[in-house]
Point group: C2
Chain length 283, copies 2
């Protein structure tokens, strides 16, 4: 497996692969890889000749006071995990390689979909995400890019960007990977104290309970939200930031009753740690 | 020559060309083609296997109260002129094809370079330009794109975007083409009344006078600006919006004396018509 550190080198590598008729899959990550990332890499490796995993803690998607500096990093582990999952390249640039002096260009989805859910408490987050992802798409010349459904709003925003800007890349959504107790895998789970970690599965438990009600015929948003809220409040340290029902991928708010493809999304704080989780149901 | 009307068809055409190993040149225009456009098309045709000319009056680069509705259009003439200059494809989409319902993504260069010169009176203009140009680059899969130096700030902003977003496309700047009396060719020249048209060459005359002073050793910005201003004021209907000296392509303001690669840029109004012109000198 190759480790590439600069956009220029990766562009040259990708061009050589394309010229040789090879297909390229990209798995954009912020590193500290877990089994969720590994599932994306494996899927890419099974569908493309070459798989590139980017490991870059992207400063432009962190707001003031967020966890840019404390975000966990372990590039040696990441290279081992990426290679084991089938990656051909780890792309690991420095911030100054991605945003050199004089940098000034941003890609943003300016519609409501970036202002709701996580966008409400993180107003510049998605602009940073779409900017770095647009750059990574260009540098890697990828045919396909793999994103976890864990970040469902990010996935919807990226699908919007790709469609709006006529980017010739296929976005492949991949299912959430969970710990044995149901907690969605996330690099930020390492922030949890042992006590918080014990309580954290309330997110997935509340979503499973909602799914069970929906399977039994429940369609009323208030009833479903109340049940989710009730289960989350069983965790004494949980502070729910939002519990929302939105169409997917347009992210329009559901009215009184759910129908069609519906995202049920949660953000819950445990102390300083903010966890998100979701399910998408088809009605 | 082919006429293609939808992004989807052009993407498919471009992909087939790339798969066949052909190089693609793109000439983005708003139509009403004149000899300036023809020079870009000829240059592209001489440097690429396939030349695509886009003809699209892009609504997102016009501000409220600007001339979107009255901007001159003549697609039949444009097709004839593009073919005569060597184009293989005219791409002529409708606004709804480029910005379908739910559209929400914009590419913007947010640094000072879009806020000076024309950006001062047209605050959303360059965001519209970079957005449509990014879309056209993606749809056309072009290897090279050709832009006239007439819109020098646009050229600098696009070069910035291409570098910042790691777009794998070469930007080819092309010299200004002028009428016999020196007026820079522009589709907007058709707005001028006969009396205004007679006065309009003061822009190029003032720039030539400045160039002559520079060639004779003058470096003082105030002296050069005064001379340009004096010549423009000889035209009774001319109203200078700006006369500026800036580094190219960074567009930083020159101090008291010029040095290096310097853009001397003018915007002058004649009634409702706003004309721009410039020279780039190397000192």
């Amino acid at each position: 497996m190759k480790i590439i550190n600069t956009p220029k080198e990766l562009s040259a590598y990708a061009k050589a692969q394309k010229d040789a008729g090879k297909s390229i899959g990209l798995v954009p990550t912020m590193g500290y890889l877990h089994d969720g990332h590994a599932s994306l890499i494996k899927k890419s490796a099974s569908e493309n000749d070459v798989t590139i995993v980017s490991v870059f803690v992207n400063p432009t998607q962190f707001g003031a006071g967020e966890d840019l500096d404390s975000y966990p990093r372990d590039i040696e582990h990441d290279c081992t995990a990426a290679e084991a999952a089938g990656a051909n390249v780890v792309f690991h640039p420095e911030p100054g390689d991605m945003y050199p002096a004089g940098y000034g260009t941003y890609v943003s989805v300016d519609s409501d979909m970036t202002k709701v859910l996580c966008g409400r408490s993180r107003p510049t987050h998605f602009r940073g995400v779409t900017t770095v992802v647009a750059k990574l798409f260009n540098i890697s010349a990828a045919d396909r890019a793999y994103f976890g459904q864990k970040d469902a709003q990010q996935l919807a925003v990226i699908m919007r960007m790709v469609s709006d800007l006529n980017m010739g890349i296929e976005i492949i959504p991949c299912p959430i990977v969970r710990e044995p107790d149901g907690l969605a895998m996330s690099s930020r789970n390492t922030y949890l104290s042992p006590g918080e970690r014990t309580q954290a599965p309330v997110l997935s438990r509340s979503l499973s309970a909602a799914k069970k009600l929906i399977d039994a015929g429940e369609r009323d948003v208030k009833t479903l939200r109340d049940e989710i809220s009730r289960i989350i409040s069983c965790a004494p340290d949980a502070d729910a930031e939002y519990i929302e029902f939105r169409s997917f991928p347009s992210l329009d708010e559901c009215g009184g009753r759910i129908s069609g493809k519906v995202l049920i999304a949660l953000a819950v704080r445990f102390g300083k740690t903010r966890l998100i989780d979701n399910i998408i149901v088809n009605i």
